[in-house]
């Protein structure tokens, strides 16, 4: 396989009438999905738009995967735009990406106008009713090679120039092969998809669905406000596999929703994107004792994941989950500050190498050169590896343990402090649902934000005093009623830091 579109060709031939994509309103069979995507591909390539960046503004619906594959059939690479983003930020992405076309559905055409975009606009509804040109698509596919880009994924930084990781067909194919094999994804899988299409985690559920002939149910965002409705939805659609951010799993754990309703079909619970609090995980395991639970870890720059851990033992509330071991065709290693490889137990920065690696950042040679570097342990031949910026170490079982972002580690009073360790200790205090530790460089203070039942900051402080050394104690505990989340559903640390003035 050299092109992602072959995944859809194959599944459409094997399972033409099986549902591939479902949202709250629409169901698309594999046959319709492939047909729709080929029409979009022909529409673009027929207008000379090929080997070019194309932006997609079709929202959280079955239209988006159809448009993604449409771009690929046309020989293009795509960027899915968060349609809820302010127009100004979308414009910033357009300035970097310079799209040759924007595929837009009716409800977002006004938003597109607000960005001031003046290039070619492909109306989704028009593109899907145009005639497919199979000869043109075959010719386009023949010219493509597997190192061509498939998509550019912009990371969620709210200030400055957006950074877009360019990921090739080869990376997605290698990654999806591993993901499907490792977690037993097949035509019987029904994914309940939580993560947005502009977030790297969606690469796993969307493409492993298409690769194996599975079904993906796009969960409407508002269901995460109504936990019982969410459970009803998952049961009605017979969802058996979820791959969510821990904050989304936490909504069900913190509400103790599974005390009131049963999840009838869930067999696999995979999570990534942020640290999974063990107490919430334990609630899930108690309620679904037979399900597979796995902690996945990786940046957008390794397609989605570079290490994983299938939960195989019990953890107590304050403990951290391992991020585990490297995937097939994506190796990892740990380098100390002095440039040598870390021994077990020694801290260092995580590096990744292999087929999952992104090609670099779009229109950004500087940032590319800083992160995609020559393997520091290989002096013999050119080998590009990715410097993740994450600090890790191996535990005594040979599993990788995540420590913190390299730029998240602080030095105070001569000590090296991991804010993540403070959070792990705080999350074990009863009455705390979620927490985030933020360091204010100006005042040299650690501030701990907490949500939960406990209403007295001093109770939390005295509980923590028994668990943390003095130099790690937060100077301030701020109780908030709800933890702010960013567009991807992860804790919005930047907003917290800004609220404190840090």
């Amino acid at each position: 396989m050299k092109n992602i579109t072959e995944m859809l060709d194959r599944s459409a031939a094997r399972f033409p009438d099986k549902p591939a994509l479902r949202d709250s309103a629409t169901e698309m069979t594999y046959k319709t999905f492939a047909d729709t995507a080929r029409r979009i591909g022909s529409f673009l390539a027929g207008r000379g738009i090929t080997r070019s960046p194309v932006a997609i503004m079709t929202g959280r619906s079955v239209k988006t995967p159809a448009a993604m594959f449409g771009c690929l059939y046309g020989g293009n690479f795509y960027t899915v735009i968060d349609t809820e983003m302010p127009a100004e930020r979308i414009k910033n992405i357009f300035d970097t990406l310079c799209p040759a076309a924007v595929i837009v559905s009716e409800e977002y055409s006004e938003k597109l106008e607000q960005t001031g975009y003046g290039g070619f606009t492909a109306d989704y509804e028009q593109a899907v009713t145009s005639q497919p040109d199979i000869r043109l698509l075959k010719e386009t596919a023949r010219k493509a090679i597997d190192t061509d880009p498939a998509y550019v994924l912009f990371t969620s930084g709210s200030t400055g120039r957006p950074k877009g990781a360019v990921v090739s067909h080869r990376s997605v194919i290698a990654y999806i092969n591993w993901f499907s094999k490792t977690f037993g994804i097949d035509e019987n899988t029904v994914f309940g998809s939580q993560t947005p299409f502009y977030f790297s985690m969606s690469v796993s559920d969307v493409f492993s669905t298409v690769f194996t002939g599975a079904t993906i149910d796009i969960i409407p965002k508002e269901l995460f406000s109504f936990p019982m409705k969410l459970i009803e939805f998952l049961n009605a659609r017979k969802v058996n596999t979820v791959y969510w951010v821990p904050s989304a799993l936490g909504i069900i754990a913190n509400w103790r929703v599974l005390d009131y309703a049963e999840l009838k079909y869930i067999k696999k619970v995979l999570f990534a994107g942020e640290v999974m609090p063990v107490r919430q995980l334990n609630y899930w395991i108690k309620k679904l004792p037979k399900a597979l639970f796995a902690n996945l870890f990786g940046p957008t720059e390794t397609t989605d994941i570079c290490t994983y851990y299938k939960v195989d033992r019990e953890f107590s509330d304050g403990e951290s989950l391992p991020i585990g071991r490297h995937c097939d065709n994506c190796d990892v290693f740990v380098v100390k500050e002095d440039g040598t490889e870390a021994a077990p137990g020694e801290e260092g920065e995580l590096y990744a190498r292999g087929s999952f690696l992104a090609l670099g950042y779009y229109n950004d040679p500087e940032k590319t050169a800083a992160a995609f570097v020559q393997n520091p342990l290989n002096k013999s031949y050119p080998e590009t590896v990715y410097k993740t910026g994450d600090l890790v170490k191996y535990n005594e079982k040979g599993e990788l343990m995540y420590i913190t972002r390299a730029d998240f580690q602080i030095k105070r009073m001569g000590y090296r402090i991991e804010l993540g360790e403070i959070e792990a200790a705080a999350s074990a205090v009863s009455g705390i649902n979620s927490c985030a530790a933020v360091y204010d460089r100006k005042s040299d203070k650690i501030v701990l934000f907490c949500t939960g039942k406990e209403k007295d900051g001093s109770v939390i402080t005295s509980e923590l005093a028994g668990r943390l050394p003095d130099y790690m104690m937060p100077q301030k505990v701020i109780l908030i009623s709800t933890m702010p989340l960013n567009a991807n559903g992860k804790i919005d640390r930047r907003m917290l830091a800004e609220s404190f003035g840090g």
């Binding site: 936990p227 019982m228 409705k229 103790r256 309703a261 009623s481 709800t482 989340l485």
Partner: protein, 75 residues
């Protein structure tokens, strides 16, 4: 009703809570605000709103919220 509006104003003082009849559809109450609101209502009225009560019908308007709170206070 006054106490309900007071709690709602703490969440967002710029909304005309008594006039709005589609708080969910108009995205005035999203998942975070609902969690926040439930906590505030539990405290203010000394009630226990369970996940069973957290359905759109009970949160679509200030009136619906007042009905829910009234029912739980009676129980």
């Amino acid at each position: 009703m006054e106490r309900i509006i007071k709690v709602l104003n703490e969440i967002n003082p710029t909304v005309n809570w008594e006039k709005e009849t589609d708080l969910i559809g108009n995205r005035i109450l999203d998942s975070l605000r609902i969690v926040q609101l439930v906590g505030a209502l539990n405290d203010e009225f000394d009630i226990k709103i369970t996940p069973m009560d957290v359905v759109p019908e009970n949160f679509c308007s200030a009136e619906a919220i007042a009905r829910l709170v009234g029912r739980l206070e009676d129980e």
